[in-house]
Amino acid sequence: MSVPSTAPPGTLRLGDRLLMELVRLREESAGHPPHTPDADARAIAAGGDFAQRLAARAQALPESDARLRALRHLRRSALALVGIVLTFSGIAGIAAASTTLGSRQPVSLPLLVCVLVGFNLLSLLLWLAIQPWSSRAAPGLGRLIRQLWTRWERHALASSKPTEPADSSALDAIRLLAGGSSGRWLLGAVVHAAWLAFSLCALLTLAVLLSVRAYELAWETTLLSPQALAQWARWMSLGPALLGATGPETLPVDGALDSGAREAWAIWLLAALVVYGVLPRLLALLACVALAMRALSNIGRDLTRPGYARLRTRLLPDHAGLGVVDPVSERPSAPRQRVPRRAARGRGRLALGLEWAPDEADAIESQWQCHWLGVADGAEQRRQLLDQLAQARTGRLIFVARATATPDRGNERFAVEAIDAAQVPAILVLAAFERLQARGNEATQRRLDEWQAFATRAGMDRVLPWCTDATGALPALSEDGIRA
């Protein structure tokens, strides 16, 4: 390929595609892509496939700097927001772990599990339960985030002056990112990340506190029977057992726990936090990130959208002019001399055909009432006709041409030579005129004008149309050949 390609197809970064989409949204809402010759030229110069050219054009547009600034601003704000959310969740995790652990002695193991894992697991199950319907909420989610952003912007940037395109670019970008399924998965990822931060911080806090301080741990209950409590403990140990932590099958559940049992239960607690708190959220986070990535990779991929499709011929032209490679020669053509009017050399008339195929010529000849010399078709026949004309003594020469034919230089030269040879006045009859008329008035008039010019140049006296269909007797022939 002679075209330099900057990257193989499909490797446009998300930022490039977002910029493309922002341009598309603007241009689609304006109704049509504006005239941007500079950006188009740069896109064509950049080469590559259609998507790459679209991206190059979006970058070359004068407003792209403002748009990129808006995107960067949005990204920074989003990252900051996520950072804040994660920090607060982490703090919440630390607080939850330390307060539950430090509230009183002995510490209830069921309470610890409920506080540190229960809410987390419950909200995760709730999130899973609403997944089948959440796609319907996606547009509403995008709208909500946009409204929040607008308020936030108005509030945060009250002093500085945001530029209009950048402002709407950020909103458009939110619409793109949050309006479709990507918004749903991105939000999910943030929620899972927050709970993950909560669980990890709680886990760390527990590990540190349990390492440096002695806690009384107990399986406490007020309402449940000891058997039910033991049953609960067994169920809850299914997860920690996966990590190798020993549970109620070897450890005592009720009564005061000795130091060995306390240590084993502490390890069990940490394992429970990992299995029920950290791992599910981690898996959900990974799933959401993967789904969000997939959704994001679809942004700017559909090039059949009208905003893109209308640029196709501009950025991927299907032809290019190569200019004139062999210009009109300036050689002056010899001025044609007006052929002098000639007098009849005898009586009668001689007819010859121009532009007839052999079968048509026969039909014309049968309808013709005066002497028919033949059809001037091809160099050989022309020579014969010229010889015949040089010897003939006649009053008038009649050229019977097919009206639909285009008069050309070959015929013109022959007509001049024939009139010169015969030395008599000549007229032009346009036969099968009805076929020309069938092509419409405009075409008829144009062709008639051309034949008129042809006749004038060749030195003929007049042009007569002749309809050779059923109605078509030759209109204006009189005794001496031509009436008037």
Partner: protein, 467 residues
């Protein structure tokens, strides 16, 4: 851009056979060269490259018409040179003064032919085969380049392509393409490149690439156009306007209709914008529009009558009940609620003014939606416009009369659009700022519309009840 490895083709032929028109049609550029219905309009040699993905694959050169081949043939016999090598004789002729400039125009043609790899010999199929054409072909054949005769104006009643084919075969030209520069047919373009590939074995892959690229462009165009029609239909189908009971219903109805008209005009503008190149082509397609607009309003009963859409039932009057369920499900199950609403609305609508009255009083408001007949009108005429833009006008006329799908381009389209009536959340017209239209809805509908453009064999088999 590298043009040196482009296949160079001279476009030659008798005068006024449509050489420049052929170039204009192939390049879709109405400004290329100069065209008129008379001899010797083109006097210089001008080129245009056909590109695929930015790369020039074929360079076409428009030449002046041959006007006096018989005399030229005679003159060439007098040019000194070895009789066994006609090309050398042509070269000797070109090096001379072309009989004091008499054959200047013919010399340009032959010179360009010698510079090119092959030639397209354009023929006006309405003309009879004459001796001068044989002389032309003889002179051109002496240049030693492959010739592909291209029969132009084949759609004309005067055309006699069979006679040309048999005569060309007698002159040893058996690979012949036909092409009508007035009634453009995309397939005919393919044929030219395909047959060139037969003549020029080594260039075949290049020509196939060009064909493929043009196919791709065209398919992208059709898909983008179908997509904007699909967007219009889904948007209008889901359009909903809430009217409080006792509110100004005629005003709301007018507002709703105005939105539909604006959406339709946007779609028309998009289609015209997409086909900008086609419309600037030589002999642009004839459109059923006047100054870029439909003559009849989509709500005009005449528009429905023309497209064969039946009207007049109670449900088609435009008002349809919805449910307040929407309000307390917080938009989460909007689609399901609206579906129930639409169904109940139809029942209420059918039960007459009393039923509507009761339902209004119960719910405090009702919804205005677009009736199926108007959707059929929109679908029918946008498809008609699209067919005209693609120059499939004749097929379209016929199908409108025979299809039982009353206005709809095909039953599949009808089914999908009518389904979209239950999904106001898909309609961008309900909340203008939202990019809500899901691709999963749009793509199949766009494909169904694109398929319906091809004539839609399914149209006759499956009746769709539209009341």
């Amino acid at each position: 851009m590298n043009r040196s490895d482009a296949l160079s083709l001279a476009v030659v032929g008798h005068t006024n056979t449509g050489k420049t028109s052929l170039l204009r049609t192939l390049t879709r550029d109405s400004r290329f060269g100069e065209v008129s219905d008379r001899a010797a309009t083109t006097r210089d040699v001008q080129g245009a490259a056909l590109l695929a993905n930015g790369k020039a694959l074929v360079a076409l050169y428009d030449t002046p018409g041959l006007e006096d081949a018989s005399a030229l043939s005679d003159f060439l016999d007098t040019v000194p040179g070895p009789h066994a090598d006609p090309v050398a004789r042509i070269e000797a002729f070109l090096a001379g003064d072309h009989d004091q400039g008499r054959f200047e125009q013919e010399a340009k043609v032959l010179r360009q032919l010698l510079r090119s790899e092959a030639a397209l010999y354009v023929i006006d199929a309405r003309e009879p085969v004459l001796a001068k054409h044989r002389d032309e072909l003889r002179v051109l054949a002496e240049c030693g380049r492959p010739l592909l005769p291209v029969l132009n104006f084949t759609a004309s009643v005067d055309a006699d392509p069979e006679q040309w084919r048999s005569q060309l075969a007698r002159m040893g030209l058996h690979v012949i393409a036909s092409f009508d520069t007035v009634l453009f047919d995309f397939e005919a373009e393919h044929e030219i490149f395909e047959k060139l590939g037969v003549l020029l074995e080594s260039r075949r892959s290049q020509l196939e690439r060009l064909s493929a690229s043009r196919d791709e462009d065209r398919n992208a165009l059709i898909l983008a156009a179908s997509r904007s029609v699909a967007e219009l239909l889904v948007n209008v189908a889901g359009l909903r306007l809430s009217v409080p009971s006792g509110g100004d219903e005629p005003a709301a109805r007018a507002r709703l209709q105005e939105r539909v008209r604006a959406a339709e005009q946007t779609c028309v503008d998009t289609l015209l914008g997409l086909f900008r190149f086609e419309l600037s082509a030589y002999e642009p397609p004839q459109l059923p529009l006047q100054q870029g607009r439909w003559q009849l309003d989509p709500f005009d009963p005449e528009a429905m009558r023309i497209l064969g859409v039946r009207t007049g039932s109670a449900a088609a009057a435009g008002g349809m009940a919805g449910l307040t369920v929407d309000a307390f499900t917080g938009g989460l199950s909007l689609g399901a609620a609206a579906l129930i609403g639409a169904g109940l609305g139809a029942v209420w609508g059918a039960s007459g003014p009393l039923g509507r009255e009761i339902s209004d009083r119960l719910r405090g408001h009702h919804w205005l939606v677009i009736e199926a007949g108007t959707l059929a009108v929109l679908a029918g005429r946008q498809t008609q416009l699209l067919r005209a833009l693609l120059r499939r006008g004749h097929a379209a006329q016929e199908q409108l009369r025979t299809g039982s799908a009353a206005g709809w381009p095909s039953p599949t389209v009808a089914r999908q659009v009518l389904r979209a009536r239950a999904h106001p959340e898909w309609s961008a017209l309900n909340n203008a700022a939202e990019e809500a239209l899901p691709d999963a809805v749009l793509r199949p509908l766009a494909l169904a519309i694109a398929q319906a453009l091809d004539g839609g064999a399914e149209a006759a088999s499956e009746p769709v009840g539209i009341q």
